[in-house]
Symmetry: D2
Subunit: 304 residues, 4 copies
Amino acid sequence: MECPGLIVAPLTPFDHELNVDETRLRRQIDYVIEDCRADMVVAAGVETQEYTYLSLDERKALIRRTVELVGGRVPVMVGVSHPALKTAIALAHEAEILGAAAVQLLAPLRPFAGPPTRDDLVSYFETIARETGLPITLYLNPGPGAEVSIADTIALAKLPRVQFIKESSRDLARVSRLIAEIDRAGHARYFTTMQMLLITLLLGGSGATMPPPACEIARLIVDAFVAKDYQRAAEFQQQFALFPAKWMHRGLAPVMKAAMNQIGIPVGDPYPPYAPLTREEVNELAACLKTTVLARRKLVEAAE
Amino acid sequence: MECPGLIVAPLTPFDHELNVDETRLRRQIDYVIEDCRADMVVAAGVETQEYTYLSLDERKALIRRTVELVGGRVPVMVGVSHPALKTAIALAHEAEILGAAAVQLLAPLRPFAGPPTRDDLVSYFETIARETGLPITLYLNPGPGAEVSIADTIALAKLPRVQFIKESSRDLARVSRLIAEIDRAGHARYFTTMQMLLITLLLGGSGATMPPPACEIARLIVDAFVAKDYQRAAEFQQQFALFPAKWMHRGLAPVMKAAMNQIGIPVGDPYPPYAPLTREEVNELAACLKTTVLARRKLVEAAE
Amino acid sequence: MECPGLIVAPLTPFDHELNVDETRLRRQIDYVIEDCRADMVVAAGVETQEYTYLSLDERKALIRRTVELVGGRVPVMVGVSHPALKTAIALAHEAEILGAAAVQLLAPLRPFAGPPTRDDLVSYFETIARETGLPITLYLNPGPGAEVSIADTIALAKLPRVQFIKESSRDLARVSRLIAEIDRAGHARYFTTMQMLLITLLLGGSGATMPPPACEIARLIVDAFVAKDYQRAAEFQQQFALFPAKWMHRGLAPVMKAAMNQIGIPVGDPYPPYAPLTREEVNELAACLKTTVLARRKLVEAAE
Amino acid sequence: MECPGLIVAPLTPFDHELNVDETRLRRQIDYVIEDCRADMVVAAGVETQEYTYLSLDERKALIRRTVELVGGRVPVMVGVSHPALKTAIALAHEAEILGAAAVQLLAPLRPFAGPPTRDDLVSYFETIARETGLPITLYLNPGPGAEVSIADTIALAKLPRVQFIKESSRDLARVSRLIAEIDRAGHARYFTTMQMLLITLLLGGSGATMPPPACEIARLIVDAFVAKDYQRAAEFQQQFALFPAKWMHRGLAPVMKAAMNQIGIPVGDPYPPYAPLTREEVNELAACLKTTVLARRKLVEAAE
């Protein structure tokens, strides 16, 4: 993957029986690759993809289908995070067979109180590394996963197989330091979030991971950055000031699904019990999206 | 189940291939029922049982085996918590077939940032309640599960099928209030932790849930409480002042496994990557256990 | 002071010009000493006394007046917490001149990010200890003061001059351990809060600190405990289940002031900008207090 | 003040008797104004200035002396935060007399548990606003001050007298949104921290507040930004990746004092009980500073 890189995690559309809707998934993946020019696609790797609600068989089917639908146009990173170690290993084996470019693995929450130690974390990642030849993305997402200290993050980044880091915090003091001590130090490539994208690039980080349609705005930020048009990059970055923050009490997946529905690439509702945005919230979101680069697409789609 | 109730969650012994060691499980369950007089046994329901590391098939096998080994001597509550809704429902169906007395269900972490709303939580528990005729234990364990406010806990307790609550916090301001507004108000039975057991009973709560060998001490607390020998109950409660707190940086499962190994009912090491206590830590733990009622058992066992 | 001990921190009544209302202070102190039989009175020592809103001269006047109004009936502990070290020392000198029995000193918040180290804390308490011959109460109140770890609390408790500890948390795992390692170990006397009073006594702690009128309920808990009537003690302890928890979004001082106004010993409103309870909240509080031992007093007073 | 603005809070040098060392203060203020071209100087306004350790008279003297030493070269903002409302008002009156350009006021911690409500906060700021004609800086610093939600921050920013906001968090999701909803919306000017400076400017914020010598690096960031040389701005911003983060366990004031001592503008040690950096830490800091623009100054000074 070229850097700076835009890694995109497609949302998971469900039908009325809560099965994955493959038609909508296909349409979305085409959008992500053709329109947003994702540098890499994540299959069932981040919580916003609602993969945790799937049974293991459903999740494996989603991974396979995602790889097929990407069709080699860009590399695919397969999420192998699972509380059960053997299941994570089985998913890594499957990723290898499917031709994945990398696996993404959440720094695991210690389930019985207190954070994992550095030894716990290193041992865990080394165990997975012994089982796969693929590069590993260390996925940091406190809540579903562990809170990993700066020192422990650096220790994990120094493992040879850990070649990418996906950071979910918006703590710029932490991220500034980790970009310097990990990415600029040559240990691993550092990826952050949509809110952090421009400053990540300016500080020498490698990019960001996010779902659509945020990735359409992010594409323009990356392009402007590469073209050294920093003012334009900043204008696009400002489009992440209110979107998605103002609706985050609903959670990221519901907001992004609502935005996709707005721009004419429908992906349906969030998996229950999480509620979609109310009609009023959707209207406010639509008004906000009109102030972004997504507005054009929306109008085009609305005219269809 | 009689109240006050002592609910016990057996630890999961693993062999060298990380499969469940049924011989050790049997020995432990006998201890829990015969020696500690558990009022109910939990099958694969709390994180200390390390069930999250198991594949789904392994977990189902553990549940079935636990029910068999209990053999009807006491009721069994089956843990059905699973990130995937359909899997949780399938586990609830299985629990019913196995003759379980109740199912235990974790208030789920919203996986994509921010806490679930009250509507999310109520909808989730109602969905499960429609799928099973069994009483439901609302399991509160922030970290693996959601942080649930006092008001939302009360709302969930008022659901007819929610008949038990397992609280994991040691916040006595919260628990005092919830015992009053839930247990004494007649909505559900309130169970807490070993550290909270005596004050829970004194305030009108219903008991506590814990793994062995803590449950051996807890049995004496409950017995003394029922006998209205409160001073003696307090003396036993003091035995939870240092055990397990002093070793909790290792996590509850490793400490309890080390204590079981000490008292001669071996259950092996924690599931990787979590480390067992070091030799020095084991020695300190042994010295501490000598000051508790577990000392006698230990000496007896050591003499075998 | 005899132990178990009930330490009471009178609320600070303000008049319309926001000066201390001495008439109401006198009435309240008589209530605290004569009716509630406080074992010790705190002068301007805990935040619920709203002393932080006072200028230094006003605070000194409040301390002197409190000592005078207590009039030697019980020992007085003077609060000397102040962000400025020299001011804290000056207050300690004044306490000595006034014949105080002890000084109370908040474990200080490090004002510029991050917690104080153990060395910082020990050095701070040693500096004050060199300046006064009085026993020191280590006051733990994270928020206004530092979050102090279990290990650091024990280190401070071992300082010879630190003879009392006032803990504000309701974390029973923490408090159980600290009572064992500090109070039962002979390093210092451990005092907690109204919610924790009975279990503190049962575990071997020394008592609790609180404002009126909670102390009237607490008196009965302590008396029943001393009389070994633990069931009765538990019944009184249950009266702290809803009061003050249900109104704590207003803060402890406003709730306690409202309760005092209800029982006929008026102390006015909280210091601005903090709002008194609304009429509706007062009515709910009154209904709650009717279920406690304060009900009788209230009726008597209402008849006056 | 011109925007983007660099607001500088000089450190407070203490002599061996813990009195303010005016000679060193003068030298530092000249550095801040002449070399770093501060757009505004803060007198006793942020915790890094260690003003909370001063008695009220000492603090007033520090404010007066700072105003004198600045000598009208740039505007001065006077810190009036004080737990006692009347004292904060008295400080605001004094600021006016001294010709201050603004007052800075911490969003106050509610001292008796729980956060202040929006009404509490608005009422507090309105009370101060009635007492002074000066613009007010809303100072957000959770810990010493309250944690203020996004919605409450916006409500305070809409008060006419609140014209500046100083944000201490490094949460870019929060700050992105607040710059859009406050600064770009015209309610108040938004200032952040050294780590956030470049992205703050790119998103349309107004600048940052910080102590020396960080402000010397920040000056170059602001100058490069104004000159639209964003790559150069980013290079300077990267100099805040490790400095001060790697030494923040000591606290910001000790790190900044150590850095000033290194660059030849000595300001002594932190106020007790906080410890200065160890010799080893100073050496590591010196090595880090050599990689920044402060290196040149340091060499020059070392040669003197």
